[in-house]
């Protein structure tokens, strides 16, 4: 698109001089023929060298543009576009482009020609974008984690000094053109390895990647269809879902692949979900400072065979309020309730809250609380967690972030767990991240405490 000397030079010499001479001659002629006397400057009878040079310069410019045109532009065939048009049709089938008494407005499609010139680059880009929009987008996400256990308290256990490794690979399929405002999404996940909880008797998973999934096998994490109706204020999702994608979200503590790895700092354990399953979510979101969600989902231990939709059914609802307190930043305040019959002893209930609040552009506080009956466990479970996430400028690099969190889980008639975690997430490229974690967990059941240093590598395409 810049000047092409190889094209430019051969053209230049004899051609241009002749052209220039012709031009100057024509100028003189044209000027005399077309300009009314006394109304415009007259062309000199004999052009000066400066005029000649100026003309050569202009021809240079023309050649440069011709070269650009030849090298970058798609020539000017009209572009065919198909447009949605509103027309009015009467009872005899006559079509009008305006309202007519007795005619009914209807939508149809019609082609239109446009005089648009695009560069080859634009044309190719448009076609690729068009194809991409029609096709299914495939994504790949792999997270490999290495953790070690160093026991600091209690009677020595098998885990002391052991290392654990886990790798989880997700392949996602996303098709956004299923129908108007309707998309399909599926996530196949394969998990293999040894998470620390195989040897540490923890109330909550110390590696949240296996949450609600089966280890050492390929499984469907999610597969759902989502549509939006009522001017796209109401979103409806149905299929195999992970209800925690919709309920109990948190800006600073909700992703085991990039934030805290401990499951107690990813979701509220009082939710009581054992696995992903068939379900549906309705989300009313007017895009104001609140939204409301209601969901149902089956969730049970993967080894259980369910009889019908009446078995192990979770019913959940959440109200979210978005606020902006004075000098503070944006805060999300969510309260949810849950009722389920997964324990086989009738419906049991729980509730919880999830809060994240920015206190500056780089610092976000978070907290969760939950209380209620879980599964068939006697009594109630209570849970709380809290912490802080930091972003730039409190980081090594602009896109890094890190956080510190604490969580406490307590069964009314059983054991309790205290957990602390710090992590640093290092943004290497848009496709590659590395994290370093340090967890501490204390289990009251056996009085054991452990430090778990770890590292995590995430690749996303």
């Amino acid at each position: 698109m810049r000047r092409h000397d190889s094209l430019f030079k051969p053209l230049r010499s004899p051609w241009c001089v002749a052209l220039a001479a012709t031009g100057v001659a024509l100028v003189a002629f044209g000027a005399q023929a077309q300009q009314p006397a006394g109304t415009a400057p007259r062309a000199p009878a004999n052009p000066t060298p400066a005029d000649m040079q100026a003309l050569l310069d202009r021809i240079d410019e023309l050649e440069r543009r011709l070269s650009q045109l030849e090298s970058t532009a798609v020539l000017s065939a009209p572009k065919v576009l198909v447009k949605e048009v509103h027309v009015w049709v009467d009872k005899d089938g006559n079509e009008y482009d305006h309202a007519v008494p007795g005619a009914k407005e209807t939508v149809t499609y019609q082609r239109e020609l446009a005089q648009r010139r695009q560069t080859i680059e634009d044309e190719i880009g448009d076609k690729l974008a068009e194809e991409s929009a029609k096709s299914v987008a495939i994504g790949i996400n792999n997270v490999t984690t290495l953790q070690a256990a160093l026991q600091t308290k209690g009677e020595e256990t098998e885990a002391d000094g052991h290392m654990y490794g886990l790798s989880a690979a997700d392949i996602t399929f996303s098709g956004k053109s299923a129908a108007l405002n309707t998309e399909f999404f599926a996530d196949l996940v394969g998990i293999g390895g040894t998470p620390p909880e195989q040897e540490i008797d923890a109330l909550n998973l110390l590696n949240g990647q296996t949450a609600r999934l089966s280890n050492n096998q390929l499984s469907v994490r999610e597969a759902w269809l989502r549509t939006e109706v009522a001017h796209q204020r109401l979103g409806l999702t149905v299929g195999r879902i992970d209800v925690t994608t919709h309920i109990d979200r948190n800006v600073a503590a909700n992703d085991e692949t990039t934030q805290f790895i401990s499951d107690a700092l990813v979701n509220n354990p009082v939710l009581g979900l054992s696995s992903n399953g068939f379900g549906a979510v309705a989300e009313w979101d007017p895009k104001k400072s609140w939204n409301f969600k209601a969901a149902i989902q089956q969730s049970t231990d993967p080894t259980n065979q369910l009889g019908s939709l009446a078995d192990s059914m979770f019913k959940l609802a959440e109200f979210e309020y978005i606020t902006q307190f004075g000098g503070l930043g944006v805060g999300h305040y969510r309260i949810w309730g849950r009722s389920d019959n997964s324990g086989g002893i009738g419906y049991r209930d729980a509730y919880g809250i999830s809060i994240d609040q920015k206190v500056s552009s780089a610092i976000t506080l978070f907290a969760r609380y939950g209380n209620g009956e879980v599964g068939d466990i006697p009594g109630k479970e209570s849970f709380y967690s809290g912490g802080v996430q930091f972003g730039a400028p409190h980081t090594l690099h602009p896109n890094d972030f890190w956080g510190i969190g604490l969580a406490h889980t307590d069964f009314e008639q059983g054991p309790s767990e205290k957990l602390a975690e710090g992590y640093y997430n290092l943004h290497l490229t848009d496709h590659l991240r590395a994290s370093f974690m340090l967890q501490y967990v204390y289990e009251s059941s056996n009085g054991a405490g452990y430090f778990l240093p770890g590292a995590r590598l995430q690749v996303v395409f």
Partner: protein
Amino acid sequence: MRNVKGSLLSASLAAVLAAVSGPAVAQAPAQTQAPAHNMATMKMSPVTGPNVKVTDPTSVVMIVDRDSNDIAFMDIKTKEILGRTFLGNNVNPHMVMMSPDGRYVVTGGQRSNTAYIIDSHTLELVAKIPVGFAPEHLAFSPDGRWYYQGNPEGDSITVIDMQSLKAIKTITGLAEPLNITFTPDGSKAYIGNYGAHWVGVVDVTRHELIKKIQVDATPGITRLDPSKYLTEIKGIFNATPTPDGRFLYAADGDLGVVGVIDTREDKVVKVIRVGPDPWRTYMSHDGKYALSANNGDGTVSFIDTAKNAVVATYPAGQDLTGINYAAGKAFVISSTTGFIYVFDMKTLKPAGRIKIGNNLFLQTATTDVADQKLYLGSATDNSIYIIDGQTEAVERVANVGQFPWGTHIMDSKDNYCH
């Protein structure tokens, strides 16, 4: 003497082109008119006459129709198209702007490498001026004397004298110059370079690039990602001024920051991290907030200009192409979703979203001078949507031309392009 020579060369070029290229290109020479007035001091008054289609330039919305290659003039009150100026096949005009005195309307033909000057009253094309490669965005100096036409694919700006209606200089040394911001006194112009991470400072007296202001350093870790940083660059779309012109807010796409430039010192006084891939900032009319449209994650960051800090960030849909202000609200255009996201500028909270329609490709909008109504271009249904800022009622004006992708109202505070 210069005018005589200019006429001679234009005429000679026309003659050569007529001989070589045929009649279409032979129309190239400008029918130049040399106004003898001082454009800065000229006051508008209604113009009448047999050929006059627009008596008051402030009474129309100008619409850039990319694919029908014209500028349409719509009456603000009646919503009727008063006239069109056809520029030529495959011109593909990009942005339109009225001169500060209301006498001319100008646009750059992105695929004709030409600037077009239109009489704002008769809607006749009065000059076609060759400029650089792929002209897009443009600006007038505050006194109206200079029309700077950016040529992003030619890495240059063409300076056009609005008195002689001729290109007098080409400013080179830029890197995909997109938007031009003049200081209120007209002494300097700041150029957003999308192909670099610096803002160019042009001395308007000499029309020369005199300084480059880097908005932020590129982190060393970017070297790990050659597939991103060595294939495409998303630099600075524009430098958005505060109402008094004292500070500029320049978003950098790759770096994910907004650099605040002090125009007295010509230096960066603060770097503010916003969301990923910020497209540009849009200044609220009171100058209290600069909103950054972050296309990397479809959010809008609210920058408090007193604190120079982000005070809120909210989702606002995909493919953000513009932000307008009206009736105390911000209206964020989400191009491919068919929605306008609304935010209350007092509480800085989301205030809903307006559904314009399905299968639309929304473009940019201008706001009327009363800050009450938006005029939004919708490319795929050849329409303008008028949005009442107070009631959020939407009215469609169809058949304004093919692919309307920009609008302009004289003296509007929200005249921008994408």
